[in-house]
Symmetry: none
Subunit: 180 residues, 4 copies
DNA sequence: GATGAATGAGTTTTCATTCAT
DNA sequence: CATGAATGAAAACTCATTCAT
């Protein structure tokens, strides 16, 4: 079951959900199609379960106090950790982003995601607010977009940043935005 | 033929390439399946043609002198124009991003894209260089990521920014990064 | 389409709905499975359509004035005609009876059937009432049961009555019941 | 084993033999699929065993002297008892009738049935003969059909006759047929 | 006795594609 | 140009049955 999920995630991420067949999954997992259906009611259910447990494991690794305010050093650490998590789950994130682009699926996914990501966004927001700038919302939008974009680039074209310095550049830019 | 492309792009963007059938396309276009095959050799060819002409029309609207250096005002205008183009072609961009996440397809797409986008990146690069900062590469990465992220958000969750101010916040952040 | 219906009815009647596969249907009809799905959305839809048009053709052949009262001769003719119709549609009736025994399907079927059969039952009722017996309801129940049973026997074991005299014996019994 | 039979009979009767899966049976019986196969070699064998023991218990309850001749009172009692038996085994009879309509299965079933039912038919025949009518075969056909039909109605639409008077009406009609 | 993981052949259904008209 | 009937390969899914434990 773990195996099926793992194999499916890789295939879904590489080829897309619709372009991946149960036969491929079964073959790559070294089992029969029938067995896959003993564990999951449908292909869709495999996807759902991947999303669920993917978000679970990712966010459980990040649990911090969402009400406290980070110091600069903690913020730096926080961002680096985010990138590390993305890198070590790039299959999942690639899948996540591709699903996000399909309106049919996206809505339920967005809800699920926002629910789990809320504490993180809160941490970011609090940090930005603590800087006392005139327009914290604008800073929040800009930094969120920058992170989102950097995550996407990390996932889609990791070879461009395999020196792993993208986060340092992002961090530097964050402070430029905030200390101004 | 124009119609088939248009209709296909919408369906591909909304449901994904693989989840869209030729029947759906023919039905939505109000023609027979057979006729679609008079114009296109295969479903894949429709996609290719969409990408080709999509990039064509988009970048032909943006042709500027890639070797010159923008003034600040021109840069602002340049960014705003980019967002406008994204918004008026959100179907295309949604499709573009979803394809980008499928490695099978992504490679040829990336080549194609970089080819067309090169002049724009050059403009951005020149502008950043003209600011004379210590680490222009870092600024380039940060700003590229921020733009990429903002485009993605514009395409996937337009409702969050329907006041259309996201570009202003991005522009402000760009200058903070560059004037520092 | 006519062909598919016809072939399906025979197979459904001989083997049962669930025990008949689309492959069998396609093979017997000399077409591909795919084509069958051009005409019918699902196997269930084939069944529905068979029932609909089966009841249609049968009852349209029997349309008589349901408010008038039959003479004895007309009653005899009416019964004989019923048996003839059953015999020339024995596939359909075998299918009909087998569906009647599956509660899942039976309810919608019963409604559909009663709707169409109502005029016939009315004719029978009127005829019985015209005889002025003390307990017409009892006569109606007995005669209905006798007809139902005779139809069932005709459909399931036609060889027992291939001389075609069962209806004469039923008719005789009817008059015994009514003239008493 | 008893349990498996009982549960299977209910499911077969409600949903049909082919539409019932071993999983459903095992689930409803609260056992594993494997265990079911310790008791029965196949799904078909469950069915066979149900039919066998179904006919057994039913006819063992009815054993009377097949050579004697019933009095009128005994005949009335005999019919009432038949209806009672049908009612208390409606699952079985529903299943029986549905199988009767599938030629593949029906032949072996008919043989089996006739074997067991022979004594009962003999009793009925003797009773009819004892009335000394001109055409006892015709009376036999009519009364058999009436009983068959009444049984079918009792099994398929019990709600129509839940006052339990259908047998009285049938009995009355029988005497009308016979005393004429 | 009892389980349930595992299979493989079968089922219903879908769909890109072809082609006679 | 245009249709839509037709196909065949492959998809998702089911299920009777087996077997190691």
């Amino acid at each position: 079951m773990e195996l099926i999920s793992k194999v499916s995630m890789e295939l879904f991420a590489e080829n897309g959900f619709h372009a991946t067949s149960m036969s491929q999954i079964a073959k790559k997992a070294g089992i029969s199609k029938g067995l896959a259906y003993n564990y999951f009611e449908s292909k869709k259910e495999i996807l759902d379960q991947i999303i669920q447990s993917g978000l679970d494991t990712i966010y459980s690794n990040l649990e911090t106090n969402p009400d406290g305010v980070l110091t600069d050093d903690e913020f730096v650490h926080f961002i680096r950790e985010n990138f590390m998590i993305i890198r070590s789950n790039h299959h999942f994130w690639r899948l996540y982003y591709s699903l996000l682009l399909q309106p049919q699926i996206a809505d339920s996914l967005k809800t699920l995601y926002l629910e789990r990501a809320q504490p993180l966004l809160k941490i970011l927001q609090n940090f930005i607010l603590s800087k006392g700038n005139k327009n914290p919302e604008a800073d929040f939008v800009a930094i969120s977009a920058m992170l989102e974009g950097a995550y996407l680039l990390t996932v889609t074209t990791p070879e461009l940043f395999d020196d792993g310095t993208i986060e340092e550049q992002i961090i530097t830019a964050c402070f430029k935005i905030l200390n101004n």
